[in-house]
Symmetry: C2
Subunit: 310 residues, 2 copies
Amino acid sequence: MVRMKDIARKLNLSQTTVSHVLTGKHEHYRISPATVERVRKAAEELGYRSSALARAFRDRRSYSVALAVEDLTNPFWTGVAIGAEREAEAEGYVLIVSNTGGNAERERRVIRMLQEHRVDGLIVSPVTVTDRLLTELRAEGRPFLQIDRSVKGVDIPCVRTDHVAGSAMAVDHLVRRGRPDIAFVCGPQNVQTYQLRLEGFRKAVERHGLKRTTTAVLDAATAEQAQAAVRKILDARPRPTALYVGNIWMTLGALRAVRAAGLSVPGDLEIVGFDDIAEADLLSLPVSTIVQDVEAIGRESFRTLLKLMS
Amino acid sequence: MVRMKDIARKLNLSQTTVSHVLTGKHEHYRISPATVERVRKAAEELGYRSSALARAFRDRRSYSVALAVEDLTNPFWTGVAIGAEREAEAEGYVLIVSNTGGNAERERRVIRMLQEHRVDGLIVSPVTVTDRLLTELRAEGRPFLQIDRSVKGVDIPCVRTDHVAGSAMAVDHLVRRGRPDIAFVCGPQNVQTYQLRLEGFRKAVERHGLKRTTTAVLDAATAEQAQAAVRKILDARPRPTALYVGNIWMTLGALRAVRAAGLSVPGDLEIVGFDDIAEADLLSLPVSTIVQDVEAIGRESFRTLLKLMS
DNA sequence: TTGACAGGCTAATCCAGTTTAGCTTAGACT
DNA sequence: AGTCTAAGCTAAACTGGATTAGCCTGTCAA
């Protein structure tokens, strides 16, 4: 690798002068235009690439931030990652995306690794992370942001969709369509996202004064569990005429159960799901979705982190 | 941040000794067990986190590698990323995933940025990258790997599925099912992946001596283009009874066209698509797919890169 | 009583940039 | 003649580890 020193030696200049030219400081430190030109030309010729590593070391800023998410398989998280990366790149940062798989041990290992790599900031969706680790991270003074869900009792900023409002939208929509007997298929209550979606659902139901709603809270937000739950729901008499489902996989599972039961959608049953299903229109899936602008969440997260870092 | 120096000062030891203990070198450099214990305890108490940055700087190895992919929205690439990251983490590396969006300028910028961050190795799917940039990268001596597709005339290793064999599988399957009149909907020929898939198709067709096959080569591998192409294909008389489609998005587009035409699948028309559609069974999509073990491709890529790096 | 060796540690150097605090020379001005 | 200033550059320090070379003391054998 070509270093500044090499350029300096070649031109019989000091490394300092080369640095001034290459970092554009020659406005402050008067350097003759001829020298500026010579330095630039030499840098180009030798294929000089400044070492962000050396700079990071000296400045104690790595110009890198990390995003640790639960499941890169879920379009929600890839969207967030793409949004965050775009914004990061525009600001000259490198984004490190880590997939924790919602696994406590991996989450911990990944965070430690990123700490050691001295990332300037961290965006985490705390699935299993306890307030102990978060508090420790904050004590270290590393800028730090939660995304999509937050640990209770820890006052660390969090960027997320208003899940309560999202549920309200779903209920409003179904009521407006004349389907007040809604069955809500919700994810596990140890995940904050689903707590909030359930809370929003309950509030909206109360606001509308709906009497014939039901709620199924699953142990895990999977297609399989949703399929089984919906099968039961459809056995009930009178059968609900609307289904509100708490995430993308559960919606697919629900759809499967509904088809297996031979019901028509949206004739017999209208379905609203949280999370966009990108292929819904391609496949002509008869479901409405509560769409979160995932890339915006990613962009906003990075921008918030940037503020915390300055 | 706590440094080795701080631990040393606290214990009235030299930084060297602390380093020896913390890196486990005290087997070589005799240090009394009492000192080892004291150092370990102090490190723990002070919450010492070794700076991977400082180490990277000094060793000229960052213990980070990068994976630059075309489209993180495509499950193929997220699968690869997850596989590569898992393997990287196990080896103590940090993986930086970048989304180039198949855009030449972004691809170039991202690669430059990673170069400057002194990643130890690079895995790229060269969409728009020319052999000039690749050759330059190799000249720099940075270990470097192509994935899924390779630039012609540049001898840089490439990890990918055997696309030719994949196409052969598709044709074999359809022939076995008694559907020799296959229409192949293929992606653009400036992308190597589709060149190979087309080549495989042609070879298989020849091997079987099929007479009634057709081929549509699209300008872009999108659902929209595929839908339009399939619409035309279905107008032909006699109509083909089998469809082989070159990637996931095109398969979804094709499916849509087939449905719009009111044909039954697989009754009137049997469909095989390259790339897995994860939701296919959930949605009871009547298509067969050529499944690539994407995480394995990711893992294998990282392992190959690791070999190149040592 | 010397010298060989082991035990237990330390000083100094290097990595590639950025930054601070100058240093030298020529010409202008007093 | 003296001194002030601007122009155009440079030396040295700093970042946090890893490493190389070696220092000092005590014990034991010849």
